[in-house]
Symmetry: C2
Subunit: 281 residues, 2 copies
């Protein structure tokens, strides 16, 4: 079965995260077992990105969401980092600036939507507006509850303009998050990365679960699906995401464009220059 | 000798491109011979980029210039593509938009200068304003000739704000350019990339040489040096650029920052959560 189907949130269905095993690894039993496959998909991904760029008709938007330490940065570093940086732009969304906060909730995200031929990766995304904003009561329910429809409309508009949208929820459990916090404490080279915020969000675990479930359920559409990625094992997360991105790009059936010039005419120009300059051809 | 020194345009000196061998390969006699070294530098580069990001005090701006087919795209793909796309933004500068053209000549470049901790790669750069604009008489000499000083001032300002600037001129000769044009003609998969513009610029070869020589001579400064990279051999170009970028980043003597939190305090928080939730620690 295609991973695009296996891990997709079926449009219209209700997600229950507790029923999805974050430690799932399919038929793979170890990192070593999966690594050759991950590397092969990285190569394929790079080729497909080149084709997307060459064709110049479609674009790709990848949204990464997940709790602290779920592996958003690692996914970019180990999977999406295979892409050519010329044609791939990563945007991380943190606390909005004063100017951003003075606009509608989609304004700052829209500016970073990918141009034709390009890939945009959102490290956190417009879904923060129905996650952190909801959990911490930054806007009332009457406001955030309307955002699901507005997000679907926004994504439909991008889709109609040729943007292929893939949204990944990196699914870890509470024990795995704590294990990762511990690893940061145990490794002095990573102390600079530790933030109070990691621990401040932890008591809201169940509130986030509910908020994620609502976002995944309301906003997994045919034109912009959500995927729930079992992410307790980093290598399996990498394998699944690289495979889904490849499957989805392959399904676009992209083609190299026709030459913009008359090749016979160019050949003549080439020979004329070579002859005039006395160069071997 | 450090490659940073060997290939640098000495500030105040006069560049004569005809006296620099574009086919130079130092002690290396083949791609196979250099490849392990290139790969080692790629790894080092990635580590140094991470340190730049972690430290968050300095930034890196890499400008790539060269004639058509000199290898700007290839350098990004094969050398600078080793970097994590989160923290590295490539901007290609083509014909300016109407809004861009309505501003001063540095306006559109300034917007893409790297933030602290970030790498910006310019595929073509503000030097186009003293290259194509000069060669095709798009502005009079009275205008472009003043730009060298303005560019030096601009780069000094960026440097004073912590931006480390490296500028690479990819040096190929006329025969090598024609050989690369021929390879594009001979490979149907690359026909879509062929542009009339490649051939239209060729008669201006000597004018460009003069324009490049002036730019390299006027604008190689201690704070923003130019490097002339022998680029007839793509693998040697890759080796030299990756080595120079590594040497220059190493010289910054970057350090991981001190933790932003009290680690003992964080440990207590960690154990309190683990105990409260009954998780193994």
């Amino acid at each position: 079965m295609k991973y695009s189907k296996k891990f997709r949130v079926k449009p219209g269905s209700r997600v229950e995260l507790d029923k999805i095993d974050p430690g799932y690894t399919a038929k793979h039993d170890s990192h070593l077992h999966a690594q050759p496959e991950i590397e092969a998909y990285s190569q394929t991904l790079r080729g497909l990105q080149y084709l997307l760029y060459a064709e110049g008709k479609r674009s790709l938007l990848i949204c990464l969401q997940g709790r602290d330490a779920a592996g958003k940065d690692g996914t970019i570093n180990h999977v999406l980092g295979a892409m050519n940086p010329q044609g791939c732009k990563v945007t991380g969304f943190k606390v909005p600036s004063k100017e951003e906060a003075a606009h509608d909730f989609l304004w700052r995200y829209h500016q970073h939507a990918p141009a034709k031929g390009q890939v945009a990766i959102f490290n956190r995304s417009h879904y923060e507006e129905v996650l952190v904003q909801r959990v911490h009561d930054m806007v009332p329910k009457s406001v955030w509850s309307k955002r699901f429809d507005r997000i679907n409309d926004f994504e439909k508009m991008l889709h109609d303009n040729g943007t292929h949208i893939l949204k990944f929820y990196l699914h870890i459990d509470a024990e795995e998050q704590l294990r990762r916090f511990k690893q940061r404490i145990d490794d002095p080279a990573r102390h600079w990365k530790i933030s109070e915020a990691d621990y401040a969000e932890r008591p809201f675990w169940d509130d986030y679960t509910k908020a994620f479930e609502d976002a995944l359920s309301h906003c997994s559409t045919h034109h912009a699906p959500w995927f729930v990625i079992p992410s307790n094992h980093k290598w399996f997360r990498n394998l699944v995401i690289s495979r889904i991105v490849c499957e989805q790009l392959e399904a676009l059936d992209m083609q190299f464009p026709e030459p913009a010039v008359d090749i016979e005419d160019i050949k003549k120009k080439y020979h004329a220059i070579a002859a005039a300059e006395g160069l071997k051809t």
